[in-house]
């Protein structure tokens, strides 16, 4: 049952991601990408990461995609002016397929090694996923968390400066 559900969600995710790169209209691409994000959020729930699923929907499908759709509508771009040449299309597709083959090859020959941690389904059900993430984030990863705040500040200032009338 779980495998069937995974197959359906994975098929929708792959179909929608193909639509992202095939649609002529950027708005259609953006909507397909939102659907891909929802499929990934579903997979995160299956992987016992409900907090990650929540912020996937809120931050990605909510904030970032709203920003992208907003810019597409603001600039009023409907379709692409022209396609790339056949050579560029062929080379791009060949590179992507080669990358896929390479990752598939290495994944099929490798196995999961390394020390197993203490977090399992029982621990997540007992303590709660969000609490575990919070504990880890505010103790072990406190410095990266603070650096992230500086990054966000720099991004805000940069975006305002770039979007000003006269730089």
């Amino acid at each position: 049952m779980e495998t069937l559900f995974f197959s359906i969600v994975a098929a929708i995710a792959i179909l929608m991601s193909i639509l992202v790169i095939r649609c002529k209209n950027p708005i259609n691409s953006a909507l397909s990408l939102i659907m891909t994000f929802f499929c990934l959020a579903t997979l995160y729930v299956m992987l016992e990461a409900p907090f990650m699923a929540a912020i996937q929907v809120i931050v990605y499908a909510g904030a970032i995609m709203v920003l992208i759709v907003f810019v597409i509508m603001l600039l009023n771009i409907r379709t692409e002016s022209g396609r790339r040449t056949q050579h560029a299309l062929f080379l791009g597709a060949a590179t992507g397929l080669f990358l896929l083959f390479q990752t598939w090859y290495f994944l099929s020959r490798s196995s999961l090694t390394g020390a197993k941690g203490a977090i399992d389904s029982a621990a997540i059900a007992k303590v709660g996923h969000t609490e575990l993430i919070g504990q880890s984030l505010f103790t072990e990863f406190l410095l990266p968390f603070e650096i992230t705040s500086i990054l966000l500040l720099a991004a805000i200032v940069g975006a305002v400066v770039l979007a000003k009338k006269k730089v």
């Binding site: 990650m52 692409e80 992507g96 896929l100 197993k116 203490a118 880890s136």
Partner: protein, 100 residues
């Protein structure tokens, strides 16, 4: 129980589709969306490995990747608006000022 291998293969497929999109599309916003898709494919890898290794560190990394993606979205879209003001287009073929 879905195997770890299935998740990693799905992630590889999404990443490759994103790569093809980046290399074959001309619209800068679509290229940007393909990059977001590649970031999401990597996030799926992190979360799947985090579950199968019983360690939450991978999910913290996903948290940081999402933050960086949000910052990237803000700055990248501001850059596109600035470019559109100058050239009236967001086609990457028109970004040829530094082309030799």
């Amino acid at each position: 129980m879905v195997s770890l291998h299935s998740y990693l293969i799905l992630s590889a497929i999404l990443f490759s589709i994103g790569t093809i999109g980046v290399l074959t599309r001309r619209n800068a916003i679509v290229i940007f969306m393909c990059i977001e898709m590649m970031l999401n494919a990597v996030n799926l890898t992190f979360i799947a490995l985090s579950k199968y290794l019983g360690n939450l560190d991978g999910q913290i990394f996903v948290f940081f990747v999402m933050t960086v993606a949000a910052a990237e979205a803000a700055v990248g879209l501001a850059l596109m608006i600035a470019f559109f003001k100058n050239r009236e287009s967001i086609d990457v073929e028109d970004l040829n000022l530094m082309k030799w």
